[in-house]
Symmetry: C2
Subunit: 284 residues, 2 copies
């Protein structure tokens, strides 16, 4: 089925590999997908069933068997790039009982007294679950670097700490899918402007968003360094062009499907005597 939808699979075309340059990515593009908006929304809707089925198998396998697999989707992006839409329209398509969502805001006073990975470790998904990080430990080398919230040495240390952390996470059975939603500066401007034009969107607007926007180039540099330093075979980054919301959602859905198909979870066998239980139930 994926073959018909995608002429090149997002897990190949969007993956950050050696020599990747963020500046070369066109946020308007729809790599690997030849159809347009309306077909894209239809495909998104139709592939929910497959994603939901895979998620249920993953969950089932972890409840009965010894499988320790899980998936962790890490979402990073500039403001208004569509993280919320991914959670709502992609993650929202699977059973909430199998999802663990963690939104990382500015760290609390308590969190600040610990290493930057302390609060992240606590929110790793249990086996059988799809975890979603809405922002993550990468903030500590993005805003952390751009705003000099930490010293250069500390930021430098963090890249290595992240690599080791993610290697351990991957070894524990968690498939990491790290996604940066990539919009253009112009697209961000028009999305933020919309929030200022609609009273039902005011609550989504934060004057601080414009402050960060003014540092756009610094953020892009910080992202480039993140990709250079932390895209590894076990914990790859995917840069998803996101000016077209429908494309970004479809692509992230496909990355999740691929991660789950990589696990290939199976319905677990009965750990009880089926015939005996049928008899006992019939008599009850």
């Amino acid at each position: 089925m994926a073959k018909k939808l995608w002429h090149e699979h997002p897990s190949e075309t969007l993956r950050v590999t050696e020599g990747f340059r963020l500046a070369d990515v066109d946020p308007d593009a729809t790599p690997g997908y030849s159809h347009g908006h309306s077909r894209g929304e239809k495909d998104l809707h139709e592939r929910r069933e497959l994603l939901g089925d895979l998620q249920e198998r993953l969950y089932a396998a972890s409840r009965v068997g010894d499988d320790t697999d899980a998936v962790l989707l890490v979402l990073q992006a500039m403001d208004s790039a569509g993280k919320g839409g991914i959670v709502r329209h992609v993650v929202g398509g699977v059973d909430p009982q199998g999802v663990e969502l963690a939104a990382f805001k500015a760290p609390t006073d308590e969190e600040r007294t610990h290493d930057f990975l302390w609060r992240v470790e606590k929110r790793l998904p249990q086996r059988g679950f799809i975890g979603v990080f809405d922002r993550s430990h990468y903030e500590d080398v993005l805003i952390g670097r751009v705003r000099s919230l930490a010293s250069d040495e500390e930021v430098e240390r963090r890249y290595g700490a992240i690599r080791e952390f993610e290697q351990r996470v991957a070894a524990s059975g968690i498939r990491l899918v790290k996604v940066m939603l990539h919009i253009s500066r112009d697209e961000q401007k028009s999305r933020l402007m919309e929030r200022l034009e609609r009273p039902d969107k005011y609550w989504k607007y934060n004057p601080g968003d414009v402050d960060e926007r003014m540092l756009w180039d610094d953020y892009m540099d910080a992202y480039q360094t993140v990709f250079d330093r932390t895209s590894t075979p076990d914990a790859p980054w995917y840069v998803v062009p996101a000016n077209h919301k429908w494309y970004a959602r479809l692509a992230v859905q496909e990355l999740l499907i691929a991660a789950l198909e990589g696990i290939d979870p199976q319905w677990p066998g009965a750990d009880f005597d089926v015939a005996a239980e049928k008899k006992r139930l019939a008599a009850s």
Copy 2:
């Protein structure tokens, strides 16, 4: 809209009030709703938008304003009555970012060293959220009583403790919607049997389910006492006939909608100067 769907609203017809008798409830009935299965599924689908819109307003109001409102859906039922389906098909229709789901299993060793409400308190929804308890503190007066996991005196104490706890919860701004999904013994048998007949359902079957089933009447007595002792104006119980899954889902969806409409959350105003921000953004 609700008027067309329901000739009597579930928040009235299904509510446990003085003199309620569980034994008088027909699990096959569809009180207040005159249509059948296919129309019921269509209505469920169509009313998702309203529920989703209300949820978003609730969330928005809590982010900017001083609103401390939240909703807590408590789900209790015999095995296979459809709690999971409610989470998947009703709660799954709203943005995962606004939902906090807590599934209460048998208490851990650590939890056992605390009062029975300790673990429950920790999972109360934040303001602006819809919390869902898949099982709850009521297990401590249901299986706790039927299986004599606690002394009679302790169980007796718990009813009062629950009333006081829920009164405080309600006063803090959390609307409680306590739902018992009510299936018949026969319906449970056929649902459990289905799990034994389909290898993709084995993982949902637990031999312990039949053990509990054998104590059906004791459980019904324990539920009756729960209703007698803990259905209060601030924390009412609703008994939802659940032999028809579509009806139970539609009814619970409607109870959530009613709870949110009772709050009537409004889009918060801007806490910044809109004109000034437009100018700043335009220049950026």
